[in-house]
Symmetry: D2
Subunit: 389 residues, 4 copies
């Protein structure tokens, strides 16, 4: 035991001005299971160097490309070299660094969506499945303890057979052509070459889709999509709705927008079954409302002793001490690390630890993008949802 | 002035066990502009008599049918006879008593939806248009002061051109086959012969549809509907979603359910425009959230001095003294009465008073039912929304 | 039964510009148990006449003084004359019209606080106790269904022995010297001659005090008061706090202010006992939060079937159809009327109907004012609370 | 720049089962400015060792006492040795390790309250003031971005002169004699020898007191305290209220309880001034409600661009991505680290960074404990609040 070491983390992307790179780091570092040892923060060497200095890294381990980083790190002694790479680049730089990292033998934590397009996703699917390294796809919201609780309650039959799912993800930040105002985030996320062909649906619709399947444990069987470009001059969708049907007969509605002017980031999911219902919203993430007919609604709270094991394994403060978005990230990273440690120790990880999003979630998310784009173009109401692998 | 008299109100329906009849009365009586003088509460004469006694009516003015009531009341001296009839019967008893009342020269307040079916609606449309009597269709939710405020703010361009409308109406009370358990409300509302062919969409979807058009001032141009029977054995829909397109290019999502287990009655509408957004939910009806980019959200409150004239004319308590559902009804009735008084005085009513739902709303609601039923059966995604009159 | 008549109501006060007079009327009329027949709305005869016309009263029953009204009404035949008088005047006009009304044999509904001062209260106490007429003191907030539920749950031992009471009543409308800006409400409420010597504590502190005792069923034994005049130039308190001790050993904090700038009217009460806790706030009045250790909080809702009989008797709409402030008033009036009808029928009213505030509440409220004024002047921490009658 | 190194952190306390030790670590590690290098986690060597292993420390730097740790660490080369010690022990082990750490030349982050008693506090005050090392007292709640915003808004005069402060801290976890049920947290926090003579008021009342002064920038001048032991058999207070007067004439109410059955940890502060009001509650920490007369309430949100510099420097995610309790801790540690780095670089830290709680807050907190204990015993209402140093 006393020989345990922190997992050595490298970063691909996350240069100056990046949003999600810094959050990945906050989440990975919080629990003391990772230490950042190296990074290829930007293809611009000055920027990569600058970020390395900000992060107080050894300058010799700050690289200008992931190719260089993988090559150099793999040559370091095992006790020093990177164990895990976190890839936090735009979507067009997901496939290649992931595929190569696995070949070099690094575990990979990749920001969503899986790849730039469905074709890449299908290819990466097999690469990941054939690798013996761990792969984490950071669908953040599945890291929240009360989402974990909801998932476990549905699985345990608490609300009965699921009949209905509402999931919505309203943002407003792209309510105007921010991409022409020197906003880096807006630029790449509205650029099909870097983001992929689905804008809002690719960026946040995939989160909503993941929530719907993750919480209910049910699989989508059909979609009816209606995507919009609300702002003239934008090349890809910034708003949309997708009607869902599930294999078990349930129906659903998925709404996502980046042009709901004034909205922040209130991902919300509601699930109703034969016996009861569950409601959660991200901006009030420490509560889960549970409803049964002819009874008072119950407000389940993070950090309490009455939660199931899945939530219990994904919290760190007692009730009334709010955890948030960074902790949701931290939960993904902590579970990922726990599994890597268990693997090394030759032990089976707890099922609660292995319940982090991975390649199966990733391929389904890319199939979702593909299907909603096709459905939007179609005059036929329903498009069967078939995941090719 | 000193000759002004309360408006004399008669009731059709609202017998023992009725829900909405009692609420109509609470609303009509609250402001002292109506007095109940007669009723045909039930076709069962004992029940009608019982209800008349409960309401402390003169027994000679308690009738067993609206035909009898109209006939007898019309023979009374003008100073005594009924001025206004409120019709609060199941949907299959809307057309006939309304048509006849107008012919007898009574003003009519009718519960929604307009009629049992679209055919009746088109016929009634012309009867109402050709009458010189006032006609109120009680789309309750349009009586809430903060809905009035939202309507006026949109009309005034506060949020800019409307781009998106979400309206949802989740109920859970029909989560099981309550209609087989001796529940009167469930019985008639799930019976196509008394309710019409659209269940949930007819009962509450029409409210949601009315909200969408009333708040935005925009008209629906296309629908894509997906209705469900969630409970085996029920003959008509108890859940559904309708995608909307509006004539101005806005899009919308309308969700209604009576099988969202555990839900009460939280009608909610959100409207987003080029400049800002508005959010309202019925269970917190005294607040209206107003959003603009990069500014704190503002919580507009009923009863405050900064509201527009439309809200001001539809409230009676100062801020922090909550008004509710009965007051929303009362607002409809008070505006209706104010218009009748103005008519009698040969004065033009304030526009704010005339802003109550009527026959145009009614025919559109029946067209909505007709189109969502047709769209649900169709494999084609979009059905143009064309109101026949 | 068929001879039942509506109770004939007369009003003292409530002239043009009155706030609470109109609310009393809304509440009294809503349920169809009262009809307004007469009024002495103002000592200014033009104003009284104007208000009578607005209310569509018979001009011969609009009076310029309650003396005249009582005298004339008492001479009318029983079937026509006023049964109940509602007194909605400033506090200096509470004692005399109440005392006289009872002597004339009218039932009295009186706005709170009971009288201008404690001396009057003690006198009125005996007049009311010695009268065979019904007396209602309109402590509005005790009419809310979820307050009724809280009271019943405490009485039933659901939260165990009460240990702690927090009650707060923050308003902000007197945040500046509004009484110098031609605001009628501010004028009389800050005038000791019309309002009494306790400003904020008399106006809303008495409501808070009533809530504390009404919900818990416990009696205050000691007070430690600290009243403030926050705005220079105001003669009486506009803010304050009172520490409470109860006879059962519980402690409490009562806060009331009319200078909490920006606040509306959010009376809030929280009660914690050995086994659990209850929380209610007026601006969200249809919910009652119930807490037990190591369990999810439960949100009890008005209009549901799981409530106790006391709440059930004080509601009129199903869950999710909000009732509000006017309905709280209506509940007081409906219970009052039900008791009068029961008395007339020689029947014992249901206990739930008789659970409206009356003279015992009134004398305690005036004792509260007296004690907090004395305690504020005292350097000694605790003042025993002893109600003289 | 490239020579910057992470600050090396050692821990005193935080052994197995500790709550706050783990949170300090999460907060300190999150932003990558600290690395844990050593610890004296427990005086029990097996426990200290176990915790060291869990934290993957070098076993040679896991100690059994802070004396040993300070001695050994001070002998390490500067590049390796501990820079900062975080002391997270019960209150009776605050004074000595802090005083010694400063003498050894380590910066100190100390959990609140400052010391076991006022006498120690006065002594430590001078030790800290005479040291050239940085001292952080972790009054967590002052690290929340919206508390920072509130403080800056008050300082900027946005709400005008402060008139009123309500601060409350209701917990319920000690609603029964948990200290007899083998609960470590309850054991030491109810033990005067380890906790000090004020129970609830020392543990969480001091947080509330700090909030009141920190947000308003005003100083308390008088207290009137009423502390309770609600559970028989407990030696120190578990509930209480303190009336406050401030030097500027404002008044306040401070409520704290650990026996409000069912409550979690919802510290709440409300401040009202001549022009407006501010309201914040910890369980919804990402929002700050701002009220002005006759205007809609405004909901300021963490992570937005319209916040002041003090909030901006204390956040890491954009609006709608909730930060929580751990981030509040992280903000304290990040500001502390930024100041240490600035000191080393010979630069003046930004004022926003230096705005972390320290020795002046600590001595006032201990004076608060002393005064409320004395006031509780006194029959005189007001006790002047005089801080001895």
């Amino acid at each position: 035991m006393s020989t345990a070491k922190k997992l050595k983390l490298g970063l691909v992307g996350g240069g100056p001005g990046s949003f999600i790179g810094a959050i990945h780091l906050n989440g990975a570092l919080m629990d003391g299971m990772f230490e950042l040892v190296c990074g290829a923060f930007s293809s611009n060497s000055a920027k990569s160097k600058q970020r390395g200095e900000e992060l107080m890294l050894d300058p010799t381990r700050v690289y200008c490309s992931y190719d260089e980083m993988y090559e150099k790190e793999s040559q370091l002694p095992e006790k020093d070299r990177m164990d895990v790479v976190a890839i936090v680049t735009p979507n067009n730089v997901h496939f290649d660094p992931t595929a190569k990292a696995l070949k070099y033998g690094f575990h990979v934590a990749l920001d969503k969506p899986l790849t730039l397009n469905y074709q890449q996703a299908k290819e990466l699917y097999h690469i990941v499945k054939n690798s013996d390294k761990r792969f984490l796809l950071t669908h953040t919201y599945s890291g929240y303890p009360m989402i974990k609780q909801a998932r476990q309650m549905v699985a345990d039959g608490v609300i009965g057979k699921v009949r209905k799912v509402y999931v919505e993800y309203p943002q407003g930040w792209l309510y105007k052509l921010l991409e022409t105002e020197n906003n880096k985030q807006a630029e790449w996320r509205t650029d099909p070459a870097r983001n992929g062909l689905a804008g809002c649906m690719g960026d946040i619709g995939t989160h909503a889709f993941h929530m719907a399947e993750y919480v209910t444990g049910e699989k989508v069987s059909h979609v009816c999509a209606d995507l919009y470009i609300k702002i003239d001059g934008r090349p890809i969708d910034d708003d949309g709705v997708v009607l869902l049907r599930f294999e078990n007969g349930a129906s659903g509605v998925l709404m996502a927008s980046q042009t709901d002017t004034g909205c922040e980031n209130n991902l919300k999911i509601r699930v109703y079954g034969e016996k009861g219902g569950l409601e959660w919203e991200q901006e009030l993430n420490n509560s889960l409302t549970v409803r049964f007919p002819n009874q008072p609604a119950q407000i389940f709270r993070a950090g309490t002793g009455y939660l199931g094991s899945l939530a219990q394994e994904n919290t760190r403060t007692p009730a009334g001490h709010p955890e948030g978005y960074v902790e949701a990230f931290a939960n993904l990273y902590r579970n990922f690390a726990r599994c890597i440690y268990a693997d090394r120790a030759g032990q089976k990880p707890k099922w609660e630890w292995e319940d982090y999003p991975g390649i199966e979630d990733g391929i389904r998310g890319m199939a979702f993008i593909d299907h909603v784009l096709r459905s939007t173009k179609s005059d036929i109401k329903w498009t069967p949802f078939i995941v090719e692998k």
